[in-house]
């Protein structure tokens, strides 16, 4: 099973587990990491793709490291060499009407980088 499939399953599971009813559309954010980059994915819990929004990447002290837009498929890629990720990263996604976050710890990065 490749990383893309695992990410899709995790995002779908998170959307399914969100404690809201059929009419709700909470924003679900998921970030996976490998040695090269953090891949951010955002979608609404009703399955709708998040077509626009801002991705903010912060460090453990809440310092803003970078901001980038979501692509039209609801994803964004943050190259690890573009940010100081030694203390982990907080990824926030804000669509203007909804926002959510994902926390990437140093251990997540180390584990997924095979160290």
């Amino acid at each position: 099973m490749d990383g893309a499939v695992i990410r899709a399953m995790a995002l779908t599971a998170a959307a399914a587990l969100a404690p809201v009813g059929a009419g709700a559309h909470q924003l679900v954010v998921f970030a996976s990491v490998d040695c090269e980059a953090v891949t951010v994915e955002a979608k609404f819990s009703n399955g709708k793709v998040t077509q626009q929004g801002d991705v903010r990447v912060l460090d453990g002290a809440n310092n803003l490291l970078t901001t980038l837009p979501l692509d039209s498929d609801g994803t964004a890629v943050v190259p690890l060499d573009s940010v100081d990720h030694a203390g982990g990263l907080v990824v926030e996604v804000d669509t203007g009407s909804h926002d959510n976050y994902w926390i990437v710890t140093p251990e997540d990065i180390a584990r997924n980088c095979g160290s």
């Binding site: 998170a14 587990l17 969100a18 404690p19 809201v20 009813g21 059929a22 009419g23 709700a24 559309h25 679900v28 954010v29 460090d59 453990g60 203390g87 982990g88 990263l89 907080v90 669509t95 203007g96 009407s97 909804h98 959510n100 976050y101 994902w102 926390i103 990437v104 710890t105 140093p106 251990e107 997540d108």
Partner: protein, 300 residues
């Protein structure tokens, strides 16, 4: 003399370093709310550290952890979840699945679906948010099931000897069963008395004892605004309510304002967070007794 003091200091340093190392070496159980931490402490014994990571004064349901918090939780030997949608942060981090325990999994079919709230924002149009009531442990029969899930996980992870955990579980189950019986008895005359709660925390409690509790959305422990007091008065009149349940002690002026509306106040901390000197069972017994008294007085 100097030599002796050096020896004493050296021994003290060795002992303190040893105890610090021991603390770090102890297995760790993390619980998403204070009641689960209390249950785990009852069941696991002193050899394991039980951590409730949410700072005092922060709502455990909506706590946003730091990276360091998540690193600590990821390294725990056991992570006790409540289930039923409690603790939104657990869906925003990677947690080791083999060490996660959903303590309410055995009774997922008994989750209470809360009424939907229709609103609109952004370009999404009007829509409904429907949820699941999370405070399962306020029904002692469900608290027993959650304690059983914790005990099973402690044994499976070999954090304590099975026979010790079983003995502690038997004792705890017995206390919760007694608590349930006490509540059944104390609240037997309360079914016809409408109550209002300052926050939607008591759905499972109400269901267990056939109580009628309507919920507001007030901030815990805060002085309600004039508008909130007015709305409370209207609701009390509409429901003919006579008891107001607060999840945290408010300023005295708030209780006086409720009293002026004909509502007797009861503090019932649901034990999701720190903030009480009691154990869960003692806090629950006190709240049940106070509700019973409030109902009795309101009927006079």
């Amino acid at each position: 003399m100097v030599q002796i003091w050096k020896c004493v200091l050296a021994v003290g340093l060795v002992l303190s370093l040893g105890s610090a190392a021991a603390a770090q070496d102890r297995p760790r159980v993390v619980a998403v709310h204070q009641a689960l931490a209390d249950f785990a402490e009852r069941l696991v014994g002193d050899a394991t550290e039980v951590v409730f990571p949410v700072p005092a004064g922060v709502d455990a349901s909506f706590w946003r952890p730091s990276i360091a918090d998540i690193s600590m939780i990821q390294s725990a030997d056991l992570i006790l979840l409540n289930g039923a949608g409690f603790a939104t942060w657990i869906d925003r981090v990677s947690l080791p699945r083999s060490r996660l325990v959903n303590t309410s999994r055995a009774f997922e079919d008994r989750y209470i679906v809360t009424e939907s709230i229709t609103h609109s924002h952004g370009d999404g149009g009007e829509h409904a948010h429907e949820g699941i009531a999370s405070y399962t442990w306020l029904d002692p029969s469900l608290a027993i099931a959650q304690a059983e899930a914790i005990a099973a996980a402690i044994v499976a992870r070999e954090l304590a000897a099975a026979e010790d955990v079983e003995a502690r579980l038997d004792a705890f189950r017995s206390e919760l069963t007694d608590l349930d019986a006490t509540a059944q008895d104390a609240l037997s005359g309360a079914q016809d008395v409408a109550m209002i709660a300052t926050h939607p925390r008591y759905q499972y409690f109400a269901q267990r004892y056939s109580l009628s509790i309507t919920s507001l959305e007030w901030e815990a422990g805060a002085m309600p605004s004039d508008d909130q007091i007015t709305a409370l008065g209207n609701l009390a009149k509409e429901r003919d309510a006579r008891v107001l349940i607060w999840e945290a002690r408010p300023p005295p002026e708030a209780i006086e304002a409720a009293e002026a509306l004909g509502l007797r106040s009861v503090i019932f901390e649901p034990w999701a967070n720190d903030g009480t000197h009691y154990t869960f069972i003692e806090a629950y017994e006190t709240a049940v007794s106070d509700i019973s008294d409030a109902v009795s007085h309101s009927s006079n």
